[in-house]
Symmetry: D2
Subunit: 330 residues, 4 copies
């Protein structure tokens, strides 16, 4: 039983997912939908699949599932279209930048009895999975305090920033999801600070590039998230979970596991510099998890609801920065 896929959008992340589908047993890539002819042709050559329109994918009998990798403002519409067409849907984060629109789309998924998985790939990183397993096995006791460090090597282009929804909805949203996953209970209050430190232009676009967030749960567990848009040493992705009887942390990935010693000291290479190389295994595991959930008829591990909750935390963080208040979630 092979799950036959169409990938909507052949941009950077679309290619990642196409490659992941090709590598996952039980999954096959049938078609890619991509309006840019050159990109479409490149994808056809690279993946040996057909090029079809989005509507043709929705109508096709030989397609069971779609991976939505189009621009954010089309996600909700496409989720609704493909769920109504009876396809299993995997959608890149976020569902939408607007909480109400997300809720609307989720209502359609529910009404149709559809399957929707939202792409929070970090939950599928082998190291983070090992960290989560250590927690679940009781090796650190009760989770109490979490520290998430997430730094991009460099900010995205201004044009992207303009439509990104801002740092909280674009970047921190991954950390909000990881926080929820690891805290094991819902966040009840959000405090956030945000600054423009790397490039004043980002401030002119109404966004921030440096932020710290504190999340608290009803039982008093706390999680801090530190984000910056610039890290000279690479893509910095760390998790530390402090529990009642121990602590567990996941370390960064480097370009190579070597060390050079000389009169200046002991030098290890910088970190992997790109989210796609850092999370290449996570992206493959994520598609495999989607395929498995469809095969087993179970709820995917990262649902539309997870996408909504992370977005609500992003909105609360922004509100905290704007109002100088601790924002309570209901």
């Amino acid at each position: 039983m092979t799950l036959k896929f169409a990938v909507l959008g052949a941009g950077r992340i679309g290619q990642v997912h196409a490659r992941a589908i090709a590598s996952v047993p039980g999954a096959a890539l049938v078609a890619i939908a991509e309006p840019n002819d050159k990109a479409a042709e490149a994808a056809r050559a690279a993946f040996g699949c057909e090029i079809r329109s989005i509507d043709a994918c929705a109508a096709a009998d030989d397609i069971d599932a779609v991976v939505i990798c189009t621009p954010t403002n089309t996600h909700a519409d496409l989720i609704e279209q493909f769920v109504r067409a009876g396809k299993k849907v995997f959608c890149e984060k976020p569902v939408d930048l607007d909480v109400a629109r997300v809720r609307q789309a989720l209502d359609v998924v529910k009404a149709e009895g559809g399957t929707l998985m939202v792409g929070f790939q970090r939950r599928f990183d082998p190291d983070f999975m090992a960290l989560k397993a250590a927690i679940d096995e009781g090796r650190i006791g009760a989770v109490e305090m979490i520290t998430l460090t997430s730094r991009d090597p460099a900010p995205p282009p201004y044009d992207y920033i303009k439509v990104s929804g801002g740092i909280f909805r674009d970047m921190t949203i991954h950390d909000f999801d990881v926080a929820r996953w690891l805290l094991g209970e819902e966040v009840t209050t959000v405090q956030a600070a945000a600054s423009v430190l790397t490039d004043p232009e980002i401030g002119k676009l109404g966004d921030y590039d440096s932020t710290n967030v504190i999340l608290t749960t009803a039982s008093g567990k706390q999680c801090t998230i530190t984000n910056t848009r610039r890290a000279s040493y690479g893509y910095d992705q760390r998790i530390e979970v402090h529990g009642s009887t121990g602590s567990v942390s996941a370390e960064n990935h480097r370009e190579a596991n070597i060390e050079i010693a000389n009169a200046q000291g002991y030098l290890r290479p910088p970190l992997l510099n790109f989210f796609m190389s850092r999370y290449v295994t996570a992206y493959a595991n994520e598609i495999a998890a989607f395929v498995a959930a469809v095969a087993d008829g179970t709820t995917p591990p990262t649902t539309g609801e997870d996408g909504l909750k992370a977005l609500e935390l992003a909105m609360a963080a922004l509100e905290s920065v704007k109002t100088g208040r601790t924002v309570e979630l209901t």
Copy 2:
């Protein structure tokens, strides 16, 4: 030229300072003032010094300087008494739990033209000094985001908690001072969350055992502080400073630099479990810095003003927890 010292109080921290004085060239321990006869006798035996009353120390011609290690509620009075007696004063943190009382004492020091150093020993830790030097040498560019991790192995006794002034004034105060030292500009806003996670009894005493704080400066630099009163793996003391062109971090100290590998994995020993063993060199360096400042007639590196500022941050953090607001410092 030897600076002749009296140590007031022969408790745990008094002994640390007495030992530091004995190890610092240019310093000599003349007397200890200690009301408990047994403790006084033990100190006399250990350090080969005299036992005198506090007033006798203040009046003595053969004493140039005092180290105040008595209970917190006596600090401000003793600072005033000894400054008026013309002695150089080193006072353990905090000057007082009350901001107004601290200001009053500092006014006396100023009026008398006295010398007051407040004991923030972390600034004198060799690793933290190396970290600060790396910043000052421009090796990470402009400081932008700081992460301070500070966890005690176990909470202090309830009796101590009752008079400690609470976690922010007792424990976080060290981190507030380190933050100010490393940020290089004054903090303008404070956000804090605090919970009781390790022992409900601490909550009944009106205190917290787990806290996260975000500090922001006028230019938007940010610092997070994470504190807990319980860490199974020892006394966790880490600093990470992220700058515009790099990052610098200081690591923990272990019981031994060995690693044991077997089928379970690779095991390094827990951390040093006690602030006195962790900071033994820092305490000696701190006294040496005091001696040097007196000898050179310069302002000590950690002043009464530093003590006041750290206390103000502690009060602001508590206010943020209580009010759910970002507290602005004027």
Copy 3:
């Protein structure tokens, strides 16, 4: 231009190479030759290739190259057969356990103008390649002293040990090749010690399980190799190269990059436990290098001569153990 492959032998290492061929652009797996019907069928199912006899592969027009993964005692014959049939040959190490037989086979390759690459996959490991690049870039100055640590998690079955040629020809041979690769000049003397420490049965089979070797070059560079057949903590594979102005080392690979801290200390997971998972990327890189050499008409990076030289070092090490002499190579 795609290089069309047959893999001879569908055992463990044959499957590794079949998978590598499938993953390398410019390579295609056409057929597998495997006498065991069940294994042959499994390979056909897994790789979607044909099953053919060895002779059919040699005669086939649609096969350009072979990967020889059959038992060691067939390697030399197959090299000769396939070189004579005009195929490009990749042969798993060793070419043969007997130096004279290896020379004979290499003579045939030379006479036929054939292409032979011998499978020393460690040269293609990304970390070891980064280490070699650091040396070649002059980052440690002149190579002076090398330390190779190579420990198997557990000894192979007795039946394998019986036909393996002994620890030096079976296990150390990889280190001999790495030593030659990194020393940059030929070894002139060999000293070795060998013991049976893990299992007396290994001694009864005439073999050893624990050995140290010192290699020296004409200019006095030295390399030590330490091998054991049992390491409770996994597959231990480390290189350290000490040069005139610095040192470079490559670290082990773990099951996951996490660390758990508790009262016992800080625990990282054991090492990857199997040479195939440890060197999975190296095996793919190795086939890619073979494909590239064929495409470019260049000599493969690990030649039959390299296989011969490593075997000569293995024989010299054994002689040193047996005679208690430093063995000179001519």
Copy 4:
């Protein structure tokens, strides 16, 4: 009960021991014997002790013990003189460069019922003690294979090399002692290679600067020692012990426990650059162990016999280099 010491020789190592004596409870420094007036005066000023002649020290009633830090060629004579004078003797390594002379001196010690401790300070390093304790607690099972890495930052002056007895007797001798301590059984065979790689002048003086040694015991345990006289990154001192159920290693000491990350990578400071700073605690522990042995009337932990055995291994290593044979010890 305080053990009253004279230190013979106020050179570099004499000062280290004088300082160690000052820091050890139960020990007091009474006198230093030093023919150089300037050095003698400096020692008097630094340690507040008397200056006496060697003979005066031997004759003095107020001296219980001596630490011999004079040139090597005087050690044996002084051991005999002071043992005959009834003093407890601590002698810096080596007792003598000549095995027969060492035996003679040990005979005198034995005949007089004297106490002699030889200065192998590495056994008293806290990390190496923790490593040894891990072995003794059975945490790695039976010791099987040991790797000792010992590299000096830079070679000593030519004048020192001339009288040093060569690298094996001067430098490797420490590793021979550590090997014996950790192997837990006597070495039966020695193989060694030695080269001149850092400075041809060292070769002209008849010495080597780079060496590897393999030691084997009767039961087949093996130990390799790698030594070089030049390491750009500092004083490299590592131990790794591989056992039947695990492995334990001791890591180097750095100038500071910080790490700087930037576009070049992650840089930790070089190693401590000097044996005196690296082993400062070991030197103090060593004197404390001597004081304790005298107080308890027990044999010191590093005896004259240990000095003799290490010297015999050094001579065997040299013989192996010269003859190209595995040297057997009887």
